[in-house]
Amino acid sequence: MLLELAGIGKRFGGLQVIRSMDFGVDAGEIVGLIGPNGAGKTTIFNLVMGVYRPDDGRIVFDGHDITRVATEDICRRGIARTFQVVKPFGNLTTWQNVMVGAFLRMRRQDEARAWAAETLKVVGLWPRRHDLARGLTIGLRKRLEVARALATRPRLLLLDEVMGGLNPTEVQGMMALVRDVRAQGVSVLIIEHVMAAVMSLSDRIVVLHHGEKIAEGPPAHVARHPDVVQAYLGEEHLLA
């Protein structure tokens, strides 16, 4: 497994937010992480990125224990993430934004610029390279978020609700982008509420509810899993 969470537990004050979490992402996979609101999905991302320390368990990436590694170093090791509420560097252009990511791997300005240009082209933002990030529409800002993360040359990309707020055309475009990303050898762990999209994209789905994993498996299997359906539709829902 490229990324492995083993026995992860996290408390905030008296509240157990994540309980005994085990799952992983294999190299080359797209894994979807779904679950009703408050299930703990973004907390998982924050634990992996070192924003929070787990109270129990270990996180292993590419054979190395990263449980206690600082956030800045997580990206260096090859995990990049996007944010649910996008965080562009507003006063910089699209190109400059992506260069920040590129500079992780390159020291020289011309190399970082060139690599950022490459990334912009792959993601389809090249025509907007000189536009200020804060002037972009939400669809483009989400794309920029992905581009910036990709510029850091990650092996694993964590996408946090990257489809949120996009119109159907944009959702299709983003799905194509996620598939391109995987085609380039980057594994993807994606949190998503736009169910049709995540079910279509993912090789495997992990379902969280109240901080626990309640199901795992191929999308078709999970979509009919009684515990999952109950979690989403409520107790005592009768299947047809």
């Binding site: 009703p36 609101n37 529409t137 939400i138 949120g164 707020g165 119109n167 159907p168 509420h193 736009v194 169910m195 049709a196 999209a197 995540v198 079910m199 279509s200 999308p219 078709a220 999970v222 979509a223 009919r224 999952v228 359906v229 989403y232 539709l233 409520g234 107790e235 005592e236 829902h237 009768l238 299947l239 047809a240």
Partner: protein, 237 residues
């Protein structure tokens, strides 16, 4: 019979994020209407548009044939369309009675405040016992009742509830829906937004399923409850 409340092709945005795409729905007088759907489907946004908290960027909202979508929120309440927001949102350091009094804010409601308060306490006796207690000290279920009661103080014709079962123990969920039924029997049209479909669809004469800001299914609640398409709308496949 024309509808009491109508939404026609409503679009809504949060900043430049589009949340609703051409949503149309109706609530006839005396009905219980359910709006269900997965997270971020646009359910809360829909009733926030009705309440005037979110501006519709396209389409119309009509109350008895008159457009209300450009009105400020307090005027919507004056027209007796009242929302019980998600998470209750009581005034924590005011007493139960003070919270209820705040509910009768509009001039019309204020004039009948004493009378309404009595009616509310009769419907929900627990609140009479706790009338001088600070709202923050109530249990989850009691807070829910207080929130509903506060909404009733505005003497609504249409009462809208946003996820009333959220965070409540199963027993209180049951109780809440019974209270909603009682209110409806008194002639109040009810619109309920819920993720938990079981309870709400069994009591709704009309229901709409939202997915990613669009209405994907509609019909009588109990019928929808048995439809495979409902599961598909939630699960995406």
């Amino acid at each position: 019979m024309t509808a009491l409340l109508t939404l026609r092709d409503v679009d809504a945005h949060h900043g430049d994020l589009q949340a609703l795409f051409g949503v149309s729905l109706e609530a006839h007088e005396g009905e219980i209407v359910a709006i269900v759907g997965a997270n971020a489907a646009g359910k809360s946004t829909t009733i926030n548009v009705i309440s005037g908290l979110v501006r519709a960027t396209a389409g119309q909202v009509e109350l008895e044939g008159t457009r209300i979508d450009r009105l400020p929120a307090h005027q919507i309440v004056e027209r007796r369309v009242v929302q019980i927001p998600e998470g209750r949102q009581l005034f924590p350091y005011m007493t139960v009675e003070q919270n209820l009094e705040m509910g009768a804010y509009t001039p019309a409601a204020r004039a009948q405040r004493g009378e309404t308060l009595e009616e509310v306490f009769t419907l929900l006796p627990v609140l009479r016992d706790r009338r001088d207690q600070l709202a923050v000290s109530l249990s989850g279920g009691e807070q829910q009742m207080c929130a509903i009661a506060r909404g009733l103080m505005a003497r609504p014709r249409v009462l809208m509830l946003d996820e009333p079962s959220l965070g409540l123990a199963p027993l209180f969920v049951q109780r809440s829906f019974e209270i909603v039924r009682s209110i409806n029997e008194r002639g109040v049209t009810v619109v309920i937004v819920e993720q938990n479909v079981h309870h709400v669809l069994s009591i709704a004469s009309r229901a709409y399923v939202l997915e990613s800001g669009r209405v994907v299914m509609s019909g009588p609640g109990p019928t929808l409850l048995r439809d495979e398409g409902l599961r598909r709308a939630y699960m995406g496949m």
